[in-house]
Subunit: 311 residues, 2 copies
Amino acid sequence: MTAKPLFSRTLRGSVTSVGEEALIRSIRRWIGAASPRPPAGIGDDCAVIRPARGRGLLTVDPLIHGVHFDGRVSPRAAGAKLLKRNLSDIAAMGGRPCAAVVALALDGRVSLAWLAEFYKGLARESRRHRVPIVGGDVARLSGSFVATLALAGEASGRILTRRGSRAGDWIYVTGSLGRSLATGHHYLFEPRLAEGAWLARRGEVRAMMDVSDGLAKDLDALTPRGAAPALFGAMLPLRDGASVREAMCDGEDYELVFSAASGARRAALEKAWQRAFPRTRLTCIGRFVRSGAVPPDALKMGDYRGYEHLR
Amino acid sequence: MTAKPLFSRTLRGSVTSVGEEALIRSIRRWIGAASPRPPAGIGDDCAVIRPARGRGLLTVDPLIHGVHFDGRVSPRAAGAKLLKRNLSDIAAMGGRPCAAVVALALDGRVSLAWLAEFYKGLARESRRHRVPIVGGDVARLSGSFVATLALAGEASGRILTRRGSRAGDWIYVTGSLGRSLATGHHYLFEPRLAEGAWLARRGEVRAMMDVSDGLAKDLDALTPRGAAPALFGAMLPLRDGASVREAMCDGEDYELVFSAASGARRAALEKAWQRAFPRTRLTCIGRFVRSGAVPPDALKMGDYRGYEHLR
């Protein structure tokens, strides 16, 4: 695979060669039917969207060159990843995505051919999930490429937050963990929207989040006060020969981790899951225990660190 | 005024010196009461917000170092500007702002002292307009600083879009135009939220937008098919000795431009405006006429260009 380069070697193929107005017209063409007509879509000061059913959700995540993608990722996959990162956040609350806006900050040397593929990848993903791209902005940024997508969603039923776990609760994770960068999972993943909505309807599920910075780091936010996770290396669902350390620390898994009440009928939960999602693994990886009561054979959480963005 | 520098000269005072987790804790402290507790505020996968009354609005705008601010703008003013740019878009539809999320992409050398002031400026503006900062993201970006804010709003009554003007309609603008950079107006401006909402309730007002890229360029989007704006230099409200060219082209005015029906009782509109906004100028700057019927003494629009972001 020869990936298209992000930066154009000639002025002719670059964003600068067409200027802002023509670029915005091109973006609208690349996005096509993924954006409705204004004011419901791109073209007015704000996008007009229908109000959320139930409660509204709002999230924002960027895609940055050199951080979230590089030359090994095709522009279409990069565009899709920008939306999927945000969809994963909606999934983590058990919600439904409604509408997205995209702010692009980019160097004038960015290649038009690359950008066309990027938007086509974004638009395709947006159609697949029925999330219209309703607006955005384009601005100049010297030497880099940052696309930031904000996603509005809704949750008509129960919302699963990160709070609510108790000592004794079981800890579950969807899919597999680790080696996300090495395997391309970091852009190939499917956001767990159906799974998240399903879990929000299960009364025994207490709290949920997505695993994006590595389980070791993210699990902190799910851990109730006065408790600690007792995880067992042998129980972790490892992706493609990942080590326990890679599963704990690599990040960009975009899987769901959730807690289920200690008294839950685990066999019933797991059986219902298998009927609903026969192709998606669900693994109990341990439970929350009272601090100080972590069994000696459990993983020592202090030995693992998740991804730190700014070091 | 000695402005705080964006980049720290020592590792000790930089974002890198504290890492992501501590930085996010600091940001939550700097934002303070401008963010409610999670899941309504910062701290979960998505923010949970109440559904829009009427219709929802969604917009996104970045603040980029070297483009939207530089060393002459204090970090507090830069933080306020990030929100105000987006508020101006909500104002341009006649809507109300509801909740904001902020994605920060920044170099590890960014100064913590600068960033603290930036967030305090943002939080102050957010409290003034009662727009909670409900979530966000922090990521690494080599060599630069990009803050992107997405703003959800609502409009329970009429929404004013850019469409709906007809040949014969009068063209009005709020405030003054030109020399926004030279005078500091580009960060000192007040978003025209009350004015926009008031105008949306006036039946004679047909279409509206905000002036951000220069009147010459922006007015295109308000101009009906088969018509052209007939503007008169002597009628333009000039800011602090701005020339007609500066008023037409400078950009970053963040004023409202709107059309009023040709048959409107202009004196009544202007009198009601003066009662509602005694300190804000409202100026009729011309009207839309049929293409080819532009009077010879009107400004030749082709002679003026607005701000082009990518050239």
